[in-house]
Amino acid sequence: MTRATSTAAKRQIKWKYIANYLVIGVLTLLFGGLSLAGQLGQSTVYLLEKMSISVILAVSLCLVVGFMGELSLGHAGFMCVGAYLGGKVAALLSDLLGSGNNVLALLASLLVGGLCAAVCGFLIGLPALRLRGDYLAIVTLAFGEIVRVIFQNTSLESFGGTLGMKTPRFNRNYLFLFGFLLVLATLAVIQNFLRSKHGRAVTAIRDNEIAARATGINVTKYKLIGFVLSAFFAGIAGVLYSYSNYQVESSKFGYNYSIEILVMVVLGGMGSINGSIIAAVLITYLNTRLATVLTGNLAVLQNLVYALVLVGIVIYNNAPALKSFRERVNLKALLSKLKKPVQDPAVIREDAAAWDRIPTKIDMDDLLTVELQQKKAAPADADSDGEANSDAASDETADRKKDET
């Protein structure tokens, strides 16, 4: 029974993941074609770049928050590391190889940016992930601040200090395609990680750390793997940002940006990659559109709404008092109401829970109570024949055992 349900669940998850590849693959081809035909405006292209950056960030944070159950408040810090170091490598390479659309330089800087962020993730995760509780949140928060302070105090020649660092350009018409490809790569790595032994270990730790430890899972190791992976992709998103923005400023990667990514993950439903992608696209779109509408002090209205959405969604999804309400009113319950009950045996074999709903099963309790009532009546009839009665009773129990087996 459990076997049947688990395979069904596996199949479902696989489809969810494949849907991600399909949708993003189709979009890549579509926008690639449009771009070749020269149909995309500059603002659209810029928006697409931003969206791909947000999706990479949201999916990688989803791994930590949704699947590992730890809170990282320094995702923008890892992005900052990637943006500065990857951007620096790109600038050096473009000096060396001559400027232009150098794909090799792009790939090299992506790799360097991602790896540097991953190393930072390792150094931060090592002390914090050994501990239970909310220590990762604190340490990543501190890390984000440290990174900002360090890059702010660099000299003008090295990383530009407070003025920010100039980064090389790349053809706008194709950069977003690289962004889309990177989104696909991120999905491929993270989704396959989640389906692997390592990913299951990580989710097992989230669900019950003590039980996971008792089954021999090295908790710190698996948490660290997940966290470093997440930091790596944040670094890659940073490099992409440095290419997209032409300039990297440390003030951009503050606490607020980390929170914005967190809002995407929470809005998408923690632990859902599809949800994170949709929320990231939606929020990035809204940010860009609202930036022209809301100016000055009104711009904060957006933050206010994000904050309210964050608090509202978390309380709605997690409050113990709302549990029964959530179970009654949700999409799944509505869908199951719409569906007709399955009766076909071939289908039932797949749907193991359906066995409980089918009236073919013999109800043991009913049978037993009927027999007991008969037995109660029997001794009153034949008082004298005690031995025979007990024999009959033992026969009865033997029969019952046979029935059960």
Partner: protein, 290 residues
């Protein structure tokens, strides 16, 4: 002489951190959650002082109003945002707390604008003993925070409510069986924490009179660091950690090479402490039970 000056400044700043850290540590010990919105209570207290000072011109009244307002705010936040999540996963509570912090900052920015506002509560001037000169507000902060810390310790040790708080932090279920109203104790804890934060906000405003919506986040994070360094959940730990962090900050600021990196150094110390002694300097190790 220079060193003594730095030391007193550090102790005074440390007093402010300790007051805020007490709020963090008490809430952590009793409600078992990190109240990320605690730092923003400091900011709210600053704005309340701004409003009352411009309305009445009386600094004492403004400080009193800020304390009352912050207590109410702390209790309301607890009732509205945290209480529904009691029994939910720690991650959910943590994210809600961050959301509340973000909400307070955005609200403040909407009402008062993002540009900094200068607030001078009262100009105390400075005293000098021989060649040694020090500002009165520094001494006042140090003295007041010490008095508050001592009275809080006495309150927790000897009053009925204080003992109930200790009992709840030790074992919530057992305390409830002994007739302690856990909900009431949590509310009181938030009220005390918010009052301390409001007081700390007043002192911080004396020290750094530029108000903006993110005014509370840096001292909030620093105080939090102090609470973790001292051992989160431990009241004397928060006091010790706060004073220690204040001294470290002032010493770093006094050295020209280190001064731009002061914040980074403090957070680095936090990471090192977590690496060596995760429970903090005065924290107790808790055994994990299934």
């Amino acid at each position: 002489m220079e060193f003594l000056h730095t030391l007193i400044n550090g102790l005074s700043l440390g007093g402010i951190y300790a007051l805020v850290a007490l709020g963090y540590t008490m809430v952590y010990g009793i409600a078992k959650m990190l109240n990320f919105a605690h730092g923003d209570i400091i900011m709210v207290s600053g704005y309340v002082i701004l409003v009352f000072l411009s309305m009445t011109g009386n600094p004492l009244l403004a400080i009193f109003a800020s304390i009352v307002f912050c207590i109410l705010l702390g209790v309301v936040i607890e009732k509205v945002a945290y209480k529904p999540l009691r029994g939910a996963s720690p991650l959910a509570v943590l994210i809600t707390a961050i959301g509340v912090s973000y909400l307070l900052q955005s609200l403040a920015q909407m009402i008062f604008g993002a540009d900094p506002k200068m607030i001078v509560i009262y100009d105390f001037g400075s005293v000098s003993i021989g060649a040694f000169s020090i500002e009165v507000k520094t001494l006042l902060t140090l003295f007041a925070s010490l008095v508050v810390m001592i009275s809080l310790t006495l309150f927790i040790k000897f009053s009925r409510t204080g003992r109930a708080m200790l009992a709840v932090s030790e074992d919530r279920g057992a305390a409830q069986l002994m007739g302690v109203s856990v909900n009431r104790i949590i509310t009181i804890t938030f009220a005390i924490g918010s009052a301390l934060a409001a007081l700390a906000g007043t002192f911080y405003l004396l020290k750094a009179p530029n108000m903006n919506p993110t005014f509370g986040s840096l001292p909030g994070i620093k105080a939090f660091t102090a609470a973790v360094i001292g051992g989160i959940g431990s009241v004397p730990g928060a006091m010790f950690g706060g004073l220690l962090l204040g001294i470290i900050e002032c010493l770093c600021n006094a050295v020209p090479v280190l001064s731009p990196y002061t914040d980074a150094i403090e957070f680095l110390i936090l990471i090192l402490i977590l690496l060596v002694k995760p429970t903090g300097i005065l924290g107790k190790k808790r055994r994990e039970k299934v």
